[in-house]
């Protein structure tokens, strides 16, 4: 039986580099949301790669502006569950294809113009 591991979310997960299953950089862990339910221990609802969430940490107004800018290229938050995390070391690897996620919206938009 494996020993339970404690992960300090803010120190070891927030702002960590996220890679997809092909080791492509997707972005950073810009936000972490907890699920709170009566009588149950809090659990991680999702982690997200979302520049607007990062800017919101500086202030609501910055988050709002970033969200409006994101809308220009069809960007949206990319959220994933802890169960999709394949590896957590100095970076975090998620079991998805980056090309098919919202995290690559701007990358795809610029690539189309090249």
């Amino acid at each position: 039986m494996s020993v339970p591991r404690t992960v300090p979310l803010v120190r070891d997960v927030l702002d960590v580099q996220v890679f997809d299953r092909e080791k492509r950089p997707m972005g950073k862990v810009d936000g972490i949301a907890l699920e709170l339910a009566d009588g149950a221990a809090p659990r991680v609802a999702y982690l997200e790669v979302d520049a607007a969430s990062a800017w919101r940490r500086l202030g609501e107004r910055f988050g709002h502006w970033a969200r409006r800018a994101q809308a220009l290229w069809g960007g949206a938050p990319f959220r994933f569950r802890w169960s999709q995390v394949r590896e957590l070391s100095v970076h975090l690897e998620v079991d998805v294809d980056a090309e098919e996620t919202a995290a690559f919206a701007l990358e795809r938009r610029i690539r189309e113009k090249l």
Partner: protein
């Protein structure tokens, strides 16, 4: 043998790539205005940059992170983004000054105003980045940059007074124009300890996949490359002091600086200066564009790498494209390149703590560095130099602005 060749190439590229618009402009003005008396500023900056470059290589080798990536992780987005933004803006000004230096080199050669060259030079820099690889950008331009050794040769041909040169390494205040002297001192330190240099070096270590076996070679590259490189910057001061100051020529524009090699090389001296200025600025513009794109991509976790096709790192390629375009626009607005260079160097010195302090915290964090954390000497040298430069800049920049009105 391959590693020894790699180290030798690293040292040569550090020497060839050392000089840029900032070093040429600040050193030429220092030598022509105050003789040898500002040599100490190059020395102080060089000692600090040796430590910083060695630290940035060691950091990437040991932690596997680039500096920007790790600073965001360690301090969080909110604490990271404002100083990061300020450093990016200063980088943009420095990039404009490097493009400006290359444009002035073409102006000196053709007589056509530098603004006309802004778009062709920006396009050339962009094309080299778009089509080239990391090795082409780093090694190619730095090897061509060895032409800047002409300043060292000139020192020997001109028969400089070594005892007087030695006195220049002892800090002293002149009897006249002390505010401008201090402004030049911080500009020289800013030109020598340009943050883009160690951010670029750290990204290069990751891009070239340096492992733990590079810890010792990294030390040699930092020590020898930066020491010999700074000899060129010192030589510019000496040559300007010997050839321009006695004739009362105070360098305010690159056109005046272009005269400094004539006594040593005759009419060839003019072409050597133009080649040195053009190649040094072109190389620095390439490195700065890359360093800025690296930083932004690493801050937001995008795909990055000069060895990747632009289509495979589209946001990274778009970033350096936009930076080069913005820098060209600054030049097209008609800002005088020499003035832009001096101010951007002084601003660099002023914002140095924003880049260096978080980096020092990382270098002392065992979570990143394990047993390879900084020693007391490294911390002391860097803290002392950066604090000194920032304090002088805070005083000297307002005085310089007031004095020039």
């Amino acid at each position: 043998v391959k590693k020894i060749l790699g180290v030798a190439l690293g040292i040569v590229t550090s020497i060839g790539g050392f000089l840029d618009a900032g070093s040429i402009a600040t050193s030429a003005q220092a030598g022509s205005s105050y003789g040898y008396s500002l040599l100490w500023a190059v020395l102080v900056g060089t000692v600090c940059v040796i430590f910083l470059v060695e630290m940035s290589g060691r950091f990437s080798i040991v932690s596997g992170h680039t500096i920007t990536d790790a600073v965001r992780k360690r301090f969080g987005f909110a604490a990271f983004i404002v100083p990061f933004g300020a450093s990016l803006l200063v980088n943009l000004l420095v990039l404009a000054s490097e493009l400006g230096g290359a444009c002035v080199a073409l102006q000196l050669l053709t007589g056509i105003r530098f603004q006309v060259w802004a778009i062709p030079v920006a396009a050339a820099v962009w094309l080299l980045l778009w089509l080239g690889t990391f090795d082409v950008v780093e090694d190619g331009t730095a090897l061509l940059g060895l032409v800047t050794l002409c300043f060292v040769v000139a020192v020997f041909l001109l028969g400089a007074e070594w005892r007087e040169i030695g006195r220049g390494f002892v800090p002293s205040l002149p009897a006249h124009e002390q505010p401008h002297y201090l402004f030049l001192a911080v500009s020289i330190i800013g030109a020598t300890i340009a943050p883009y240099l160690f951010l670029f070096y750290s990204s290069g270590a990751i891009e070239d996949k340096w492992d733990m076996s590079y810890l010792v070679p990294n030390r040699f590259i930092a020590l020898l490359g930066m020491s010999f490189g700074s000899l060129i910057a010192m030589s510019v001061i000496v040559v300007a002091a010997v050839t321009l100051q006695p004739h009362g020529v105070r360098v305010e524009q690159y056109e005046q600086a272009a005269l400094m090699l004539l006594p040593a090389f005759g009419s060839w001296g003019f072409y050597l200066f133009v080649a040195a200025l053009g190649v040094a600025c072109l190389g620095a513009a390439l490195e700065l564009s890359l360093a800025t794109a690296y930083s932004l991509a690493q801050a937001f976790g995008w795909q990055w790498g000069e060895n990747l096709e632009p289509r495979k790192a589209a946001r990274f390629a778009a970033t350096y494209t936009l930076c080069i375009a913005a820098a060209a626009l600054i030049l097209l607005a008609g800002v005088e390149p020499m003035k832009l260079t001096l101010f951007s160097m002084a601003l660099t010195a002023m914002v140095l703590p924003l880049s260096v302090v978080p980096f020092l915290v990382l270098m002392n964090d065992r979570q990143f560095m394990g047993e390879h954390v900084n020693g007391r000497l490294s911390n002391a040298v860097v803290v002392f130099t950066v604090a000194l430069a920032a304090l002088i800049a805070l005083v000297a920049i307002p005085l310089e602005i007031l004095g020039s009105q």
